[in-house]
């Protein structure tokens, strides 16, 4: 009965170390482990720049946000980055209340996030 979340990965043309991940569904305590493992595997494969597209991420709770912060920190430790784009207003409110807007790199669009990659 866990929440459904699907992660769709796409390569970024001209940037071998980057990957766009489109989140579809709800991110919560029931599926954070799956998300963590999938993205850590990408880090291990050398994909250290992640752009997370939240256009279809309907819901996130405090546990889900904890994992996003952990992934952001892990990426930085590997000299990479974890950027977020297309955050809907409900999810953004939760990010804001938790105080994570200054800890996460948030962009309006995926294109802006990709352009910001070094």
């Amino acid at each position: 009965m866990e929440s459904q979340i699907e992660l769709k990965c796409e390569a970024v043309k001209g940037k071998n170390e980057a990957q766009v991940i489109r989140f579809v569904g709800d991110l919560d305590a029931t599926n954070v482990q799956t998300v963590l493992e999938k993205i850590c595997n990408l880090f291990s494969e050398g994909k250290i720049h992640i752009v997370a597209d939240f256009a279809k991420l309907r819901y996130v709770n405090s546990t889900g946000l904890g994992i996003l912060l952990h992934l952001s920190k892990s990426a930085k430790e590997k000299s990479g980055s974890f950027k977020i784009a297309n955050v809907n207003e409900n999810v953004f409110e939760i990010v804001e209340i938790i105080g994570a807007t200054s800890l996460l790199e948030i962009y309006d669009t995926v294109e802006e996030a990709i352009t910001s990659l070094k």
Binding site: M1, S62, S72
Partner: protein, 138 residues
Amino acid sequence: MRISFPPHIAIVPAVRNFVSRVMVNKGYSDRDGFRVETIVDEICNNAVQYGSSDKGHNVTLRVKVDWGKVEIDAENVSSVDEKDRLKKHMESLKSDVPLQGDSTRGRGLALVKMLASEMTAETTDTGTMVHVTKLKEE
């Protein structure tokens, strides 16, 4: 409405979605429905996490939806140690220290406090109960 469910995290998404849909059907906005969904999710996760996992020790959620406000109670069965932990956590939330740092651990109830109009916690004979009042906003 009263929902009693076994203390498993995997059940919480269905519970929170159901309550949110009821809210919207009762005339609350999608935004208010989302906020209540978050509140229900966090207090139920908290009740499961800090409650007994023994068979029959269900988490009980009570939701009363009025025209201008919703009242939510989440009650678990828990040990004296867990009751004390909740009490200390609630005390720590009384200070208005902003949420900072790179961890969200233990911030579920802090998030609820920010979303709710009022939040209290009390110990019962068998466990703990978190009570939340949320006024209709939109």
